[in-house]
């Protein structure tokens, strides 16, 4: 953020000009700078993915519209998914971790600052490669973000190779980021900051980092096999040569399900911080909250089969994956009830971060319930590949992960910039977002139950009214985000009420002992934890 330039001017030679400005951001090893880079990159990609979503919704406004070519529609669906997952949600969470984890555990910086610089700067290159596929001759990747074989192998366009390289780079970036976070949390905690005193956001990220370590190499492996099948004559996923396309799905979802929790556990951490602050109470059942996150993470490795119930699976395996999946509702339920218990008899106020947190709890729970419905094998036979699935995962990723990121940004923005955001505009952003989300995604439940298949460029006329609602909602949701950009830029330009160190009346934790904006170098001498 521009705000740091004056704060840390003493530590760098004062040289002006565009090149030095570029070099300052290109070579920075400061965790706050890198956190900012991650968050701003994620914000840019949010609009890239958002425009794709609006193109999709425009096509689906009414049947037979012919707004875009069917193949381009498939490309949009594929790249929208990849951008939102790897370009928006994951970098945003890593950015928040970069900013907050060192400050929360009383560390001067991340453990491996140069590695940190690397893990960020890989991502823009990866996405340049991935987005460039849209402009290549032939077609962009069009087999869905899951890249199922043989859509990605036998029938994959040449641009699939670009996507494979992009995914490799993103995997390397995530793994480097995870190493850094684990090393910081294990080695750089201030004296007295025991593991069980760490804020829940730090715990959530600690466990998420292990999920990244376990899952990302499997994704790298599976796309490597895909590359081999495409160019080196192997038949990992080709039945003609003795392979099995279903094995692709097994390996992909062995990565894919932990990935789901990579995208929600840090959100759980943020919500736990925010709800405690605005309830002016300590978080209810802290050890259970930590245990629940760990339990969810462990279970996430043994439930991948619920994505493949109809792909040809023995009854015993279907039952196992069904029960294991339903079991995840227990630790998730513990979290939801503990958030409610934290609010119980608290003196609540409803500033924007709290509103987003409450929106998260309500809407994520709806997404969780539709997930439970999908986990039930016989029901899944009915729902699979319909808009019900689309509704489900947008409720957990948009109403879940994205709302938690908004909540975190509003919560910590005064700490980052030293200035409060505009509360009225923040609340307007919240309400438009909530209305937009529900208008876009709630009708999709009914579309799915009525039998509208997903991944279609056109649909039967009886689905038109609900689809029109979805499209209107999507445009409200999309344009409401411009308010968010305005709010963030205003705060970055130091407009708005200045914030003191505590920022929020009910805040507690090490990050709130630092002045606002947080100094460029914090905790050079470790704080004392009482």
């Amino acid at each position: 953020m521009t705000t740091h330039t004056d704060v840390h001017a003493h530590s760098h030679p004062i040289n002006k000009g565009f090149l030095s400005w570029v070099a300052r951001w290109l070579f920075t090893t400061n965790h706050k700078d890198i956190g900012t880079l991650y968050l701003l990159f994620s914000l840019v990609m949010f609009f890239v993915g958002g425009v794709m979503a609006l193109i999709i919704r425009t096509q689906l406004f009414h049947p037979g519209l012919g707004f875009i070519e069917p193949n381009f529609y498939n490309v949009m669906v594929t790249v929208h998914g990849l951008v939102m997952i790897f370009g928006v949600i994951m970098p945003a969470f890593v950015g928040l971790a970069n900013w907050m984890v060192p400050m929360m555990v009383g560390a001067p910086d991340m453990a491996l600052p140069r590695l940190n610089n690397w893990s960020f700067w890989i991502i823009p290159f990866a996405f340049t490669i991935i987005i460039s596929t849209l402009f290549l001759k032939g077609s962009g990747p069009n087999g869905g973000w899951t890249m199922y074989a043989p859509l990605s192998t036998t029938y994959g366009p040449p641009s699939m190779d670009f996507l494979i390289i992009g995914i490799h780079l993103l995997g390397i970036s995530s793994i480097l980021g995870a190493i850094n976070i684990i090393a910081t949390i294990l080695n750089l905690r201030a004296p007295g900051m025991t593991m069980m005193k760490m804020p829940l956001f730090v715990w959530a990220w600690f466990i998420t980092a292990f999920l990244l370590i376990g899952a990302m190499p499997v994704l790298a492996g599976v796309v490597t096999m895909m590359l081999f099948d495409r160019h080196f004559g192997t038949s990992f996923f080709s039945a003609a040569g003795g392979g099995d396309p279903v094995m692709y799905q097994h390996l992909f979802w062995f990565f894919g399900h932990p990935e789901v929790y990579i995208m929600i556990l840090p959100g759980f951490g943020i919500i736990s911080e925010v709800i405690a602050t605005f309830s002016r109470k300590r978080l209810f059942g802290y050890p259970f909250m930590v245990g629940a996150i760990a339990a969810i993470a462990l279970l996430s490795y043994v439930v991948w089969g619920h994505h493949m119930f109809t792909a040809g699976m023995a009854v015993g395996a279907q039952l196992f994956f069904m029960y294991a999946t339903i079991l995840i509702a227990v630790p998730t339920g513990i979290k939801v009830f503990n958030w409610i218990a934290t609010m119980f008899r608290g003196s609540l106020t409803f500033e924007t971060p709290m509103l987003f947190a409450l929106g998260f709890v309500v809407l994520f729970t709806i997404g969780g319930f539709s997930g439970l419905m999908l986990a039930i094998v016989p029901a899944d036979y009915q729902y699979q590949d319909t808009y019900f699935v689309v509704a489900h995962f947008h409720y957990v990723l948009v109403a879940g992960a994205l709302l938690s990121i908004f909540s975190g940004v509003y919560y910590w923005l005064p700490k980052w910039t030293g200035h409060y955001y505009n509360e009225t505009l923040g609340q307007l952003h919240f309400w438009l977002t909530i209305i937009g989300i529900n208008l876009t995604f709630f009708p999709m439940h009914f579309l799915g139950l009525a039998g509208m298949p997903r991944r279609v460029v056109d649909y039967a006329p009886q689905f038109m009214p609900a689809n029109m609602l979805c499209t209107i909602g999507a445009f409200i949701l999309g344009f409401a985000q411009l308010i968010f950009v305005y709010i963030v830029i205003r705060a970055m330009m130091k407009k708005g009420k200045p914030a003191d160190a505590r920022v929020w009346e009910g805040s507690h934790g090490l990050e709130w002992t630092l002045e606002s904006p947080a100094p460029y170098h914090s905790f050079s001498t470790p704080p004392v934890i009482s």
Binding site: A178, G233, L251, G312
Partner: protein, 185 residues
Amino acid sequence: MSKPRSHRKVIVIITVAVFFMFTFCFAMVPLYNAICKATGINTSIRASEWSKPAVLASAAVDISREVTVQFVAVTNENLRWDFYPRVKSIKIHPGANNTVTFFAKNNTDNDMVVQAIPSMTPPQSIAHFHKIECFCFRQQSLQAGASKEMGLTFQVDKDLPPEIHTITLAYTLFDVTPKTNAKKV
């Protein structure tokens, strides 16, 4: 910084874990087939597992039990071949050898090589279904317009779970011509 030593430890341990998971992904390829074969939890089985004729200890035929075996044959993608079983289903006794034939005809103007890939339901029967001779053991070639009868000799063993009364064996015919040509060049 303050503890560079322990950073190194973390880096080493995690790097090992990353490489372990990457290798694990590739180790899944043989494991996947071994698990599927041992537990019968998948409907398909790799051709390499079926490419050797089964060696069976001669066992008495269980004439008290009758099992229906159904045959399905399809061609993959746009392969312009005729491919069907001469009989759609037969009733067999566990322990006895049975022979059926499949008909194949190349309707194209090119000489082609194909490979038949089996799949079986219910999956629990895979471990009890033994092929003694099969056209699927090797690639089959047919000149343009030519046709032939292809044989399959098999036996279902007596340990087939009693609740199974019908087994469906499906073959999909894959065009493998380009690959073979490429090898010759």
